[in-house]
Amino acid sequence: MEGKFKFSKDTEALFLDMFKERGVKLEGNVLKIIDTDSEDFKEYITSAIEADSKTRKKRLEITRQIQDQNKQLERQAAENDSLMVDLKKAFEQAEGAKLSALNDLDLLQRKTQFELIGDIVKVALWIIMAVGITTTILYIVALSVNGSSPDTTLIGNTWSNLLGILLTNSFSIIGTIMGVKYASESNAKKQDKE
C-alpha cells in the first residue's frame, strides 16, 4: 500500500516487549499503514489487525443492537402516544356518559319525588273529602231525625268546627306541597347552572 511507514528496530522491539510483558497491542487504522522487514513484528501487526478487526466487528454488532433497540423504543413511544390519545378520548366519553347518567338519575329522582308527593296529596284530599262528606251526611241525618234537639245543635257546632279544620288542613297540605315543588325546582335550576 502507498504511504506506508516503518518503525525503527528499537521501536519495533519496544512494541514487541510491551505486548509480551503487558499484553498491550497497537490498534486502529494506524496498523494498516505500518510496514516492516521483521518477521516477528509482521506477526505482531497481523495479530493486532485481527484483534482490532474482532473488536470492531463486536462494536458494530453492539451498535446495531442499540440502533434496533432505539428504533423499537421510538416505535413504542409512538404507540404509547397514540394510546394516550385514545385513552384521553375514552376518558372524555366516560366523563360525558357519567354526567348524562347523573342528570338522568336526578331527573328520575325528581320524577319519583313528584309522583310520591302527588300520591300523598291525592290520598290526603280524598280522606279530607270522605271525612267531610261523611260528617255532613251524619249532620243532615241528625237534622232530619230530630232538628230541635240540643244534641243536633252540638253535632252542628262540631260539624262546623270539623269542616273548618278539614278546609284549613287541605289548604295547608296544598300550600306545603306547592312550597316543596317550588324549592325542588329552584335547587334543580341552581345545580344545572353549576
Binding site: M1, K32, I33, R56, R59, L60, T63, R64, D68
Partner: protein, 144 residues
C-alpha cells in the same frame, strides 16, 4: 482506498457503524463525522480558500435533524456554491423516488440506502468509486 471521507449525519450511533464498516472494508483511513449540515457548509466555505483537510468524498444524510437545511440542499451548496471537486452522495434510510430524483438534480452521484446490513452496499460503492471520482460513472442507488 478513498483518501478521506466526510460523513454528515445527525445520528451519532450511525457514525460508529459507518466508521467500523469503513475500517473493516478498508474503505478509508481518514473519516470525519459531523452531525449538522450547517457545520459542513461552514467547513466547505472555509475550504474554498484553504483546501487543506478537504475530504475526497462526502456522504450526506437526507434528513439532518437540528440543521437549517437538509442533505439535498447541502449537496446543492457543495456543488454550486462552494465549488465541486468532491464525490458527493446521499446515505439515507429512505428510498423515496422523488427525493432520489431531487438529489440527482442537486448533483448527487450516488444514493446508499441505510439498513442493518450496510457493508455489502459500501463494498459495491467502493468498487464503483473510481468511476465517481473520474465523473464517468452514472448515478446509482445502492439498495440491495
Amino acid at each position: 482506498m478513498i483518501k478521506s471521507i466526510l460523513l454528515v449525519d445527525d445520528e451519532n450511533l450511525f457514525h460508529l457503524v459507518f466508521e467500523d464498516a469503513c475500517s473493516l472494508l478498508d474503505i478509508t483511513l481518514d473519516l470525519r463525522s459531523l452531525t449538522s449540515s450547517d457545520e459542513a457548509a461552514k467547513l466547505f466555505s472555509e475550504w474554498q480558500t484553504r483546501p487543506s483537510g478537504k475530504p475526497e468524498c462526502v456522504f450526506v444524510d437526507l434528513n439532518i435533524v437540528g440543521s437549517s437545511f437538509d442533505g439535498i440542499e447541502l449537496i446543492k451548496k457543495i456543488n454550486y456554491e462552494y465549488g465541486n471537486g468532491v464525490v458527493v452522495g446521499i446515505i439515507s434510510s429512505s428510498a423515496d423516488k422523488s427525493e432520489i430524483e431531487k438529489s440527482k438534480l442537486a448533483g448527487a452521484q450516488f444514493w446508499i440506502v441505510k439498513s442493518d446490513d450496510i457493508e455489502p452496499r459500501l463494498e459495491a460503492f467502493k468498487k464503483d468509486y473510481e468511476g465517481y471520482k473520474k465523473r464517468s460513472a452514472d448515478f446509482k442507488v445502492y439498495k440491495f
